[in-house]
């Protein structure tokens, strides 16, 4: 006779909904409560110095809402008021300066969208398929529109004449939290595109992302994006701090380790279908979608394979790739109901083609931990269920 949802007057079509201001700062509707950050408790010794994962499997578009953008803290997310915030620039500068939060808001602003990827994203997967879901294998990433002041502007305000030739100079950046999480950044990068940001996606940074001020280091590993940024020191050599020696270095098969592996190479992943996003509608039209990014420039193309990498077809980019920002891709197919080995492969403007795990292992071995940008495979069976696998 017809769908009662159509033929009968529904409660919501007759009575009244909530008034304005029911939730002065809105939350997602209750039916979306599954779209949340998740951690894996046994990964770390403690939940304070730990990480969780963005639910990329359930998102579309490219902007990550702050409320579900992954968190990584080394000594917990601190509560720091704007009034108590101070930023110091010292070292080889003409005048060591201290800025308040209000000072920062008076500098000319810039605004740009960038991805932040933890160097350890996909790090679990070096030795084989470990966790079942794009959220867990690739969720240490987010992508936000930042507003702030360029780091160059602040450095020039302190004056760089004292530093002399800038070619071999560095800046050291550290946070106000107990870990301080200091990193050395070459001056060339500092003056190129780094940003001292105080807004993300139009609103203040969240506490867990460094409120009130964090550093943005486009395309480079997330650990360098120091949160609660409190000090910038101009130096003639790197500090070689804990976070740039004992951690965030990549050990090769012969026991030698790479350091200063800052850029996050081109990478992509199919976010749906994926283990947390099985195909429920059976055969017929199917949207395959995912994300691609490169720390070395803009994404120029993404290919998708349904057969584990034997044949590839070019996917459709939702928008042309932007430098160091997430790019959304789609491949619309007519699924015949047979099993698939779904893969995606990103290309960036440098001509780089995202490698297979075998290619990476050939160069690096299995102990690299960080910077795993391999092609990911989801095995989709005839029922539409997907699992994390490796293929020949």
């Amino acid at each position: 006779e017809g769908d009662p949802l159509i033929t009968e007057v529904q409660e919501w079509a007759s009575s009244l909904g909530e008034g304005v201001d029911a939730t002065p700062y809105g939350m997602p509707i209750e039916f979306e409560s599954d779209v949340v950050r998740r951690n894996v408790e046994w990964l770390t010794a403690d939940q304070i110095s730990s990480i969780n994962f963005t639910p990329i499997h359930a998102l579309d578009g490219t902007i990550t809402p702050q409320g579900c953008a992954f968190e990584r803290h080394h000594s917990g997310a601190i509560t720091l008021k704007k009034e108590d915030y101070r930023l110091m620039i010292n070292g080889l500068v003409d005048t060591p300066l201290v800025f308040t939060y209000e000072d920062l808001e008076r500098f000319p602003r810039s605004q740009q969208t960038f991805f932040l990827e933890c160097a350890a994203n996909t790090g679990m997967e070096w030795a084989g398929s470990q966790l079942n879901g794009a959220q867990y294998t690739h969720g240490m990433i987010h992508n936000m529109e930042y507003t702030g002041v360029s780091l160059r502007t602040l450095l020039e305000e302190a004056g760089l004449d004292a530093a002399g030739d800038l070619k071999d100079k560095w800046v050291y950046v550290e946070g106000a939290d107990a870990s301080s999480n200091g990193r050395s950044i070459p001056m060339e990068k500092a003056l190129d595109d780094c940003m001292v940001a105080f807004k993300a996606n139009g609103e203040a940074l969240r506490m867990e992302h460094g409120y009130p001020v964090r550093l943005v280091v486009p395309g480079w590993e997330g650990n360098m994006w120091v949160k609660w940024l409190r000090r910038i020191e101009v130096m003639d050599k790197p500090v070689e701090s804990r976070e740039e020696t004992s951690k965030y270095t990549d050990t090769l098969e012969d026991g030698t380790s790479r350091k200063w592996t800052w850029a996050m190479d081109a990478k992509s992943v199919v976010t749906s279908p994926s283990p947390q996003m099985p195909i429920k509608h059976g055969k017929g039209p199917l949207v395959i979608t995912g994300l691609a990014w490169s720390g070395n420039g803009a994404i120029t193309a993404v290919d998708v394979s349904l057969d584990g990498g034997v044949t590839w077809q070019e996917a459709r980019l939702a928008e042309p790739g932007k430098k160091m920002a997430l790019t959304r891709f789609y491949l619309d197919i007519n699924w015949d109901g047979s099993e698939m080995f779904l893969q995606s492969r990103a290309m960036d403007e440098t001509g780089y083609v995202q490698p297979t795990k075998a290619q990476l292992r050939e160069v690096r071995g299995l102990n690299s931990i960080y910077h795993n940008n391999c092609i990911q495979t989801w095995h989709v069976n005839a029922k539409g269920e997907a699992n994390n696998v490796e293929v020949s």
Partner: protein
């Protein structure tokens, strides 16, 4: 074009924040520390997470051992086996440790701790004294073990083939299936997993198993309530404002201690119901010998005892595992007691 924003930093301000130490030892503070002092300080401030001999506890980082493992499967990366520069250890310990009480160690104590970590890695003798002067005598074994990022030479030129068809010979087969098929937070399968994904610690089945044990062994709520009834009034009037203040002070504690419905034992025992509880009675927590002895002697955590303990843990109980410097302000002690009370009824 300068805007004239901000103000000049004072020397004292720069000195307060500019603490980073360089590999050549520049910017090191005055001071010194020997191995045996280091052992004592380490036992007090570090051993609760890193083990008495820097061998690591639970899932926390091991600081010693691992020599010649870097080219093995799952290498053990410690100060001795992996860290290239001693300056990094000094810098990190001085600024960021102990976990939950960063910046509370004296420079002499930091020198002593670093000397002890060197000793525990068999890198110095037991009569070694670390100071600004002896610092550069120490060269760590893996100092030459690092190369600057060479991906441009070893990878970028190779990863350029955009094959579109017939890219693999033969049929594609599954070679590895997923180790943890379900929700990774439930139904844990103790299959070996790659080490050290995170900056802090590696995932090991042992650690995972012990986490699960801790959860299974959480003190049942009824038991806590029974203990509470014996030693404390059934209902305590609470000053909510003070409870809120205490919650803030509790941040100093929560690296090790948990409260609330989902609390589990961590580095320290859960504190639900601690107010009025007999000491040393949380199931599944391994107490220090002095704490067990005090418990034997009938210690009950009432206002007086907790105040004494929290103001100066190591003075109150020599040999306690709690590596916390103590709450200097009486009002902080009062606030935290109120907060703990609120979790004890």
């Amino acid at each position: 074009e300068k805007l004239g924003l901000g103000r000049a930093a004072t020397e004292a301000e720069v000195a307060a924040w500019d603490l980073d130490i360089f590999p050549d030892g520049s910017n090191l503070p005055a001071g010194k520390g020997d191995v045996w002092t280091g052992e004592e300080v380490f036992a007090d401030a570090c051993a609760v997470c890193h083990g008495e001999f820097a061998e690591g506890a639970g899932n926390w980082p091991k600081l010693a051992g691992g020599a010649d493992t870097l080219d093995h499967e799952d290498p053990l990366k410690t100060v001795g086996s992996y860290w290239p520069y001693l300056s990094t250890t000094f810098d990190y310990v001085r600024r960021s440790m102990p976990f939950g009480a960063a910046g509370t160690l004296s420079d002499d104590d930091v020198y002593a701790i670093v000397a002890y970590i060197l000793y525990s890695n068999d890198l110095v003798d037991d009569d070694f004294v670390l100071s600004k002067e002896t610092f550069s005598d120490v060269v760590l074994p893996n100092a030459e073990g690092f190369i600057v990022d060479d991906r441009a030479e070893t990878e970028y030129g190779t990863f350029t083939n955009r094959c579109m068809s017939d890219c693999k010979p033969g049929a594609v087969e599954i070679t590895t299936t997923v180790v943890f098929p379900g929700d990774p937070n439930s139904g844990f399968d103790a299959t070996p997993i790659s080490q050290a994904v995170m900056g802090t610690a590696g995932a090991t089945p042992d650690a995972a198993a012990s986490t699960e044990e801790a959860s299974a062994e959480d003190a049942p709520a009824e038991e806590t309530a029974v203990v509470g009834e014996v030693a404390a009034p059934a209902v305590m009037a609470l000053d909510e404002e003070l409870v809120a203040k205490g919650e803030k002070v509790f941040k100093k504690c929560k690296a090790c201690h948990k409260v609330g419905d989902k609390a589990k034992n961590g580095t320290g025992p859960i504190l639900n119901g601690v107010f009025g509880r007999a000491a040393g009675t949380v199931d599944g927590f391994k107490y220090s010998k002095p704490m067990l002895a005090a418990a034997e002697g009938g210690l009950v955590w009432d206002e007086t005892e907790l105040s004494g303990y929290l103001a100066n843990p190591r003075k109150y109980m020599k040999g306690t595992k709690m590596s916390f410097a103590g709450l200097k302000k009486d009002k902080d002690v009062a606030a935290i007691l109120e907060f703990l009370k609120s979790h004890s009824q």
